[in-house]
């Protein structure tokens, strides 16, 4: 058991932090970038590609770096620290992860190659207005006709769905299972309406009408692969949340140290410093759980349950820290001109993208009777 980063991992963190600090070290830079479509900086995306980060988790034969979940977690945490709006988790972990897990060799070569080089941004079109954090599809139907497949239905909100070059789409199969399909951005019968999310990122309504699609991999039901990919994305989002909470807490502590009221700095008010201490407790417990979940992901244990644990812990922590960060700042915390509120906004988005804390708790609760105690270093995790 070892919770320490090795020197290569520390180097990776430093490199990522350096790249992102240049892009978003000043929070006004982010505000400028998210103000206009596509809601992120294509140049920064290219730099991420140049550094090899867009291929981090993929096999070297497909242009990737063959790194593990801990490395991806490091990138996610640094992204969270400055709220970099690039669709890293959406494109690399979620869409790329599905291609890597399910795709044929040809698909991996093409899609992961384009992703790694920064030339193709894929996204996973999965959520539907009528469903709630399920691994299966119900609102988009796949039909086989002749030699090909077409999709019909609506996906929303699809992260960066208007900008994405390729959509990995989940769809109901004739037998009721959920299949995965590749749809090109220029496909016929594809209508995409993008918009801004409250946190500055982008989503889209994506309509399919007899849209030509290619099965990802060998076809058939992919619910298990989707559940796994969602779990990996939940873990990555947990790390992004840890990075965001870390900055929110640091910013708040700095404010308490410097802001004066009634002739003294705010850190003279014990009621405020105690609340900052409680924020630290929330943060460190969330950090431990997220780290652990990445290690589970790197092994052979139950990733889905580990992801739920990380999700639950970061959800509670994110709400706690997000709210307190604003409250301890006072009025300035609610403005768009000061950075701390944007962290609350992003933490709120992360909390609802792939399942909130109650969702994770409910799933864990269903299992709670089946074992006596949890050993995070033992079965079913290690």
């Amino acid at each position: 058991m070892d919770f320490n980063y090795d020197s290569e991992q520390n180097d990776l963190r430093e490199a990522v932090a350096g790249l992102l600090a240049r892009a978003y070290g000043d929070s006004e830079q982010r505000r400028t970038v998210v103000a206009i479509d596509p809601g992120f900086d294509e140049k920064t995306w290219s730099r991420l590609a140049e550094m090899g980060l867009l291929g981090l988790p993929f096999a070297e034969e497909h242009g990737g770096m063959g790194a593990g979940p801990v490395e991806v977690a490091i990138v996610a945490e640094e992204i969270g620290r400055v709220l970099a709006p690039e669709p890293y988790i959406e494109a690399v972990v979620l869409a790329g992860g599905l291609v890597s897990a399910v795709g044929t060799d040809a698909q991996k070569g093409e899609l992961l190659g384009g992703l790694t080089e920064g030339t193709t941004i894929p996204t996973f079109a999965h959520a539907e207005p009528g469903t709630r954090w399920t691994p299966s599809a119900s609102g988009v139907t796949a039909t086989q006709s002749g030699g090909g497949w077409t999709l019909t239905g609506v996906k929303e909100p699809v992260p960066h769905g208007a900008r994405a070059d390729v959509l990995i789409v989940s769809a109901v199969l004739a037998d009721g299972g959920t299949g995965l399909f590749v749809v090109r951005g220029d496909a016929t019968g594809l209508a995409r309406t993008g918009y801004r999310n409250h946190d500055g990122t982008r989503s889209a309504n994506v309509r399919f009408e007899d849209t030509p699609a290619e099965p990802l991999g060998n076809g058939g039901d992919q619910t298990a692969a989707i559940e796994r990919a969602l779990a990996e994305a939940r873990i990555a989002y947990s790390h992004e949340a840890v990075g965001a909470m870390d900055t929110a807490l640091r910013t708040t502590a700095e404010y308490l140290r410097t802001r004066k009221q009634f002739g003294v700095t705010l850190n003279k008010f014990q009621a405020l410093t105690f609340r900052a201490a409680d924020m630290y407790v929330s943060l460190e417990l969330a950090r431990s759980t997220a780290l652990w979940a990445s290690m589970v992901q790197g092994g052979t244990g139950d990733v889905v349950a580990a992801a739920d644990r990380a999700r639950l812990q970061t959800s509670r922590a994110g709400r706690h820290i997000g709210k307190e960060a604003i409250q301890l700042h006072g009025g300035i915390g609610v403005t768009a001109e000061y950075k701390v509120g944007h962290y609350t906004s992003r933490l709120t988005a992360i909390d609802h993208l792939l399942g909130d804390g109650d969702f994770a708790a409910d799933r864990l609760a269903r299992d709670v009777a089946s074992y006596q105690t949890v050993d995070p270093l033992g079965a079913p995790y290690a």
Binding site: R132, F262, Q327, T335, T348, H352, D356
Partner: protein
């Protein structure tokens, strides 16, 4: 002790309910109910409808449009207004500067300002907070120096809510920098927002809205007759005014409405084919918030019944503190019901995300303010600990 309202009060409540739900344009009430942006014109239109019916400033002296109602009547009036999604009369006019002028102003000021203030012919904004004086209001630095028949004002205010719509500002200024206590030496001036030397900078809020502003004063000349009350007694007027600020700030009717909406939406959202509202944890969460709200409403009624002397009951801090917490709990509940749809805030035509789900998170983020403004919850705890518990 008696639970029921008297028949007279029942009739009064019915009268209010009927008025608000029939006389205020539906379109305006829909805007409020949907948590959309209320325009300046909508505010003005509503207040004029209310004022024409004597329902804009019932707590003012009868001479200036007041109704001599009991605190309970005023409570019912306010709650029914919120339940009916009516935008309330502009607080800066009706709860703040209006009562100050009515109480401390001279006859000429009363005649000049009160009717126009009640009818929102003048839109007032507040010039109290400053960048380096948040909760510590008395540290303000904006100065007014006497020069002939004028005061010359220099300095900066912030958090001036809806200042972008305002015709006039009421402003705390330091008129005696040599006063021993910082609370002394402050005066209350009023002047038009288009006076030379006044500039306004809107501050964007987290939800993308513009509600508050910075206001800068550079050698603004204010005629001496625009001093309200006595020179250097502005702090007393500010305390009088801020006492009124806490009343009605529990916003129980408004939170009730949000909970009703939450139930409706939780019925529409399905999880594995079943309405979210049938989920035992979701139902219990709603039941708990609702019960807290019942408890708060009952406490408000108790406080209202015991504040006959016109002074705010010290327990009104409980209403502000808990009221803001419950408003925030309701906005958070709506975000959680919207779930994955809650990110889609600025979706427009072409989106299948219902409007309530789009606005849920911006509303939640915006409502972080309610535990900060009007005396932050930390200030309310200080008041409770100090004046009630003697700590």
């Amino acid at each position: 002790m008696r639970l029921q309202l008297s028949p007279e009060l029942e009739a009064f409540r019915e009268e209010m309910r009927t008025f608000f739900t029939t006389q205020v344009p539906q379109e305006i009430r829909d805007t409020v109910a949907a948590h959309r942006h209320v325009t300046k014109e909508q505010y003005i239109a509503t207040q004029r409808v209310l004022n024409a019916a004597g329902l804009a400033v019932p707590h003012w002296p009868v001479e200036w449009g007041g109704r001599d109602w009991t605190p309970l009547q005023r409570h019912i009036w306010r709650e029914e207004m919120q339940l009916a999604s009516v935008p309330e009369p502009l607080a800066f006019n009706t709860s703040m500067i209006g009562p100050v002028i009515a109480t401390f102003g001279n006859q000429e000021q009363k005649e000049r300002f009160l009717p126009a203030t009640a009818n929102l012919d003048i839109w007032w904004c507040q010039g109290f907070s400053e960048p380096d004086a948040g909760s510590d209001l008395a540290s303000l630095r904006t100065t007014a120096v006497r020069d002939g028949d004028d005061w010359v004002v220099n300095g900066q205010k912030t958090w001036t809510t809806l200042g972008q719509h305002a015709d006039w500002i009421f402003c705390l200024v330091r008129t005696d920098p040599t006063a021993e206590k910082k609370q002394r030496g402050i005066s209350l001036l009023v002047f038009p927002m288009d006076s030379p030397g006044v500039t306004l900078r809107p501050i964007e809020l987290l939800d993308g809205s513009f509600e508050v502003n910075e206001v800068f004063f550079e050698d603004v000349r204010v005629p001496a007759e625009n001093l309200i009350g006595e020179e250097n007694r502005g702090w007393d007027y500010a305390k009088f005014l801020l006492g009124n600020e806490r009343v009605g700030i529990a916003r129980i009717g408004s939170t009730k409405r949000m909970l009703a909406q939450a139930k409706q939406h939780a019925r529409e959202i399905t999880v594995d084919g079943r309405p979210l509202l049938d989920d035992p944890r979701m139902a219990a969460r709603i039941a708990e918030i609702e019960n807290d709200l019942v408890a708060l409403e009952l406490t408000a009624l108790r406080v209202v019944a015991n504040s006959a002397d016109g002074k705010p009951h010290p327990a009104s801090s409980v209403l502000k503190l808990r009221g803001s917490e419950l408003q925030q709990a309701a906005t958070e509940l709506l975000v959680d019901i919207a779930g994955p749809l809650s990110v889609a805030s600025f979706a427009e035509k072409g989106s299948d995300v219902p409007e309530w789900a789009r606005v849920a998170t911006p509303h939640f983020l915006n409502y972080r303010k309610v535990s900060i403004y009007g005396g932050s919850n930390e200030v309310q705890r200080t008041i409770i600990a100090g004046s009630i518990l003697g700590l």
